[in-house]
């Protein structure tokens, strides 16, 4: 395979002899194994992200409520101000979902 220096023919022969063991192969379903690991990893990451976001959301609601209460607002106003963004998100998501099949049909 390479132009071998004649001085190196002995070491070349020795290396060939001493390294002539079978070449291992990867399992036939190696690509599927990788995909399984990739999926497992993304599910785990998604779960961690969801827990993290939920925790952050709850904490910020709690802090906001305490701050608003310390400013003298009543609980009904605080509940309204806290829930309003959630209602907006729900409405926007609902509208997006409703428009999706309509676009698919057109």
């Amino acid at each position: 395979m390479t132009e071998l220096d004649p001085n190196q023919s002995k070491i070349d022969g020795l290396l060939r002899r001493s390294m002539s063991s079978p070449v291992p192969d990867l399992p036939r379903d190696f690509d599927r194994q990788v995909l399984r690991r990739v999926r497992r990893r993304s599910t785990l990451l998604e779960r961690h992200l969801r827990i993290l976001l939920s925790g952050y959301g709850l904490l910020s609601v709690l802090v906001s409520a305490i701050l608003m209460r310390s400013q003298g607002l009543d609980w009904i106003t605080i509940a309204g101000m806290t829930l309003a963004p959630l209602v907006i998100i729900a409405v926007v998501r609902g509208a997006a979902r409703a428009s999706r099949p309509a676009r698919a049909n057109s």
Binding site: K10, I11, F30, D31, R41
Partner: protein
Amino acid sequence: MALAQLETDAELVARTQAGDEHSFAELVRRHQAMVFRLALSILGREFVPEAEDVTQDVFVKVYGALPSFRGESELRSWIYRITFNQALNLKERVRFRAPHADESVLQDVASHAPGPERQLANKQRDRALAECMQTLPEVYQSALRLYYWLDTSVSQIALLLEVPENTAKSYLHRARQLLEGMLKQRGYSCD
């Protein structure tokens, strides 16, 4: 599947980035053999299961990093670079751990010497050779294992190690030269 064979790596990367897992599976099939080979060449014959783990880790890492892959370098080179670093890190970690089988034990299989004395001498020389190899720079060790054990052509060695073909040739030449010198120093001949 047949279509995937015709697609370039860049097209498969774009599809994977858009969420198509089948395209990623095709990328794995395309590059898994060379990645495994490179990992084996760095870790050595006594760490075959570890080389398989490295190969899996590399593709999991590639999948995680693909969204930010802009294609500025070739995908293949990028994967090989990840493999080289991953295998080298693992090698550092397992350096002081007992291997599954000593490299010299595997070499006994290839020994066809006639008498027990000759066999013992060959075994000792092979052990010395394996020890000397461990002291060579990583790229030399890798080039030697790729060429002599994994039957890889010089052009493929150059691709895997990301060097020009002549450099790969010189790695092999220099590695042989160093090994011969070290064996002579220890009192072994190469005959």
